[in-house]
């Protein structure tokens, strides 16, 4: 038997499967031990072991309506995180730039929308309503397009081929500029998102469930649907159009793409514009949940743990990562947060992300890092 055959012969279980089996076994043993200990009274209700490992699950079963509600809230938050992360991924894939400005783009897009709407209805005398909202939307999209062209011309083109960290820094400069510019034009005061004018639903539905109630906001459903549609459209766009193919080619290799006649500059404008559209939709959704202000920029940081769970380069990763982080942090805050006095949401997402990183350093869907000397 040669070495080659040795190497190719498949073991009964792959390494991953074996590790999974071991982990599962340990977990099962642990749960069994807990159940036995609780039943025999070795662990009482006041033990920390009980509080951490038993109590949350007991209350999940006791009040299933709250569990479902929490998961739903986590799902909705996750969808919104995914949207922000999607903006990062699009740009990272096509230009290798970690776009720190995505958060402020969300704010900027939403402010442009509201600002245009106010301008149209107050100054131009358009009747408030759906038509004005749609025109404002077009205006905001126009601004995002101008921004994309400007970024490509002024920032990206002169900085071609610089190391990642320099590109990151350039987007930081862009962030500062957009913050100052946005506040200069729109003022710092928070604005109310034009939710109903855009035709988004606002009410809520109560569902009876297992002796309790579940409150579903129509806006959240709309957010999930819009996100799904947008991801579908993006997927189609990437997979089946000429520009989409070009985009994927650029993502694979800039040089190869250039050599077959794809214009990098054009692709970058398209990608930044697409990220701008995603930012606008994200801004509408988050703005409808609270208000449109510069504080929203902080929310964009939540996309970072999503990115490390999902990987910087994968669109499905951004979505799955967003859902994992969203549901995980809401469950954690709701069931385990009180043990620590609450408010653990701010770092829990990162801990969840770190746990994933320990097993897959490149994220769930990221490209495997192959290192060669």
């Amino acid at each position: 038997m040669t070495d080659a055959t040795l190497a190719t012969r498949k073991p009964f279980l792959s390494e991953g499967q074996r590790n999974g089996l071991i982990a599962g076994g340990v977990l099962a043993l642990f749960i069994a031990a807990l159940v036995v200990a609780t039943q025999t009274g070795t662990i009482t209700r006041n033990d920390w072991i009980y509080k951490i490992f038993v109590d949350p699950f007991v209350s999940m079963v006791d009040m299933p309506d709250l569990l479902v509600q929490t998961v739903w809230e986590g799902f909705v938050a996750g969808v919104l995180y995914s949207l922000i992360a999607l903006g990062f991924v699009l740009i990272f894939k096509a230009s290798g730039v970690f776009n720190f400005a995505q958060g402020i783009m969300v704010v900027f897009a939403a402010l442009s929308l509201v600002g245009f709407y106010e301008f149209l209805t107050l100054t131009m005398g358009l009747p408030p309503g759906f038509v004005a909202a749609i025109v404002a939307m077009a205006g905001a999209l126009g601004i995002m397009f101008v921004l994309a062209v400007a970024v490509e011309r002024i920032v990206l083109r002169p900085l071609v081929n610089q190391p990642d960290i320099i590109m990151l820094m350039a987007t930081v400069g862009l962030t500062y500029f957009l913050i100052g510019f946005g506040e200069y034009i729109f003022g710092g005061s928070p604005k109310v998102m034009i939710t109903s004018q855009l035709g988004l639903p606002t009410g809520s539905t109560m569902l009876d469930f297992a002796g309790g109630r579940i409150n579903i906001q129509h806006l959240d459903v709309a957010a999930a649907v819009i996100a799904a549609v947008m991801i579908g459209v993006l997927g189609f766009f990437f997979q089946y159009t000429r520009i989409g193919r070009a985009l994927r080619a650029v993502a694979d290799s800039h040089k190869a793409a250039l050599s077959v006649g794809i214009s990098l500059n054009q692709i970058w404008v398209i990608v930044w514009f697409t990220a701008g559209i995603v930012a606008l939709l994200t801004g509408i959704m988050w703005g409808a949940r609270s208000d449109v202000s510069f504080a929203l920029e902080i929310i964009a940081l939540k996309a970072l743990p999503v990115l490390i769970v999902g990987g910087f380069t994968s669109i499905p990763g951004a979505i799955v990562g967003g859902l994992i982080i969203g549901v995980g942090e809401k469950l954690g805050e709701f069931y385990w947060g009180p043990l620590l006095g609450g408010g653990i949401e701010s770092w829990l997402a990162y801990i969840i992300a770190l746990m994933f990183l320990m097993f897959r350093p490149q994220g769930l869907f990221g490209e495997k890092i192959i290192e060669r000397i």
Partner: protein, 442 residues
């Protein structure tokens, strides 16, 4: 890479750049550098307040030619709610001989309180900042009328007791405190805990990390799980509108959500639309434009196009709070002129002016604000006054007064404050004993 400390050269270059710049005080004017945050994450609350103060002093200049015939040189210093910038503004205020420093953030108040008696500039932190600075014997240079967060906690519980039909009915109730997870948010907890022990209600705290201000869904789910009867909101900036909205989303009765006075902005309730109807907040002054002083601002400032504020925002709650603050400071400056006999007063005079502050109901009327707020009186010992507050309610478009004046439990709060002040003085070894003399109120 060489010459590591060439950076110091860089620093020197900067020094050379504007070492020559020194403040130039105009003739016959009183300088007042006022901290604002019209930018940044807290601008939503910062802008209306800043507009109110600014317009009030502009009005005084336009209508009366200033205070006592001396123009007030009002200047804004932008802080972005950032302590480092606020300290810069302290230096700026000092360099320009500002007669008072208004930190507008608890962090800035804490960083500047130890400097007040050295730089001889009084600090006016209206119902925020360090609660213990109400004790004038320890903090002669700091003023925080009309009431502290601890008084606010007392008013909260009294109001709830009124609605529940007596303090006895609080037993067995659950009261939740949704708070910004920062020292400001945690401020009322000790008093609320003491009251909970006394009256037999359960206090639950729901901290919101600063980075999660607009992401509160799990908090309000927890409130639903804990079957909380009342929710108190100790929030600021973007946290407030989100809290109101989430209360609506989870179906928590809005007329059982009471914000602290900083959670009572019009922009806190308005974004939630009809969902916000019934939302309550504490306040200590009226809203609306039906006061001669506000009318004067409209006539002398807004009509001349000198206001930064939109016309329809004038008379809103936080705007009027800015006006209220302006009136207290102006009154302190008047007192200072009277006590010192000078026209152009200094920070030291204004400190005395604050201690002599005594705005009775009649004086409020003279100032053009009849029944605008409760009488305010300070003394050398009491820099806060623990004055009464009331509850206002959002009706979907504006705030309306929803309760009588409620006096905080001064007898309970005052000893706690004095303990805290003593603790401050002992832990800050070398804290000076009060050396400032005390004026008799005339």
């Amino acid at each position: 890479m060489k010459t590591t400390s060439l950076a110091l050269g860089l620093g020197l270059g900067l020094v050379a750049g504007f070492a020559a710049v020194s403040p130039v005080g105009a003739q016959e004017s009183i300088n007042f550098v006022h901290n604002t945050y019209r930018t940044g994450a807290f601008s939503g609350s910062g802008i209306p307040v800043a507009d109110g103060v600014r317009d009030y002093f502009t009005m005084l200049n336009n209508r009366d030619g200033g205070i006592g015939g001396v123009r007030i040189n009002f200047e804004e210093c932008e802080t972005q709610y950032d302590t480092r910038r606020s300290v810069e503004c302290w230096e700026q205020a000092k360099a320009k001989n500002s007669v008072v420093y208004v930190p507008w953030s608890t962090g800035a108040a804490l960083a500047t309180i130890p400097r007040a008696h050295i730089d001889k500039m009084p600090i006016f932190s209206m119902a925020y900042g360090l609660s213990a600075s109400a004790v004038g014997g320890t903090f002669p240079w700091v003023f925080n009328p009309p009431l502290t967060y601890w008084d606010g906690a007392s008013v909260w519980i009294q109001y709830i007791a009124q609605r529940e039909g007596g303090l006895a009915n609080l037993r067995g109730k659950t009261i939740g405190l949704v708070l910004l997870d920062a020292p400001f948010g945690r401020e009322p907890i000790p008093v609320l805990e003491a009251l909970a022990r006394e009256h037999g209600f359960t206090l639950k705290t729901y901290p919101i990390p600063p980075a999660e201000m607009q992401n509160q869904s799990s908090t309000w789910l927890a409130i639903r799980r804990d079957r909380t009867d009342w929710v108190l909101v100790q929030g600021w900036g973007a946290m407030n509108p989100t809290a109101v909205r989430e209360a609506g989303r989870t179906g928590f009765p809005r007329d059982k959500v009471i914000g602290i006075w900083w959670a009572g902005g019009d922009d806190d309730a308005r974004p939630a639309g009809p969902d916000a109807r019934g939302y309550l907040a504490l306040s200590w002054h009226q809203v609306g434009t039906n006061f001669p002083v506000i009318q004067d601002i409209l006539r002398h400032v807004v009509d001349r196009g000198q206001s930064n504020s939109a016309r329809e925002k004038i008379g809103e709650n936080l705007y009027n709070r800015g006006v209220y603050q302006g009136m207290l400071i102006a009154e302190a400056i008047r007192n200072a002129q009277r006590l010192s006999g000078k026209r152009v007063v200094t920070g030291e005079d204004v400190r005395r002016g604050f201690e002599a502050l005594n705005i009775t109901a009649a004086r409020w009327t003279e100032l053009g604000a009849p029944d605008f707020a409760a009488p305010v009186a300070l003394s050398c010992e009491d820099h806060n006054g623990h004055h009464a507050a009331f509850v206002i309610q959002w009706d979907g478009t504006k705030w309306n007064r929803a309760s009588d004046w409620i006096r905080p439990d001064r007898a309970r709060i005052r000893p706690l404050l004095e303990d805290a002040a003593r603790a401050f003085a002992t832990s800050n070894a070398g804290w000076p004993a009060r050396s400032e003399s005390c004026d008799q109120r005339s």
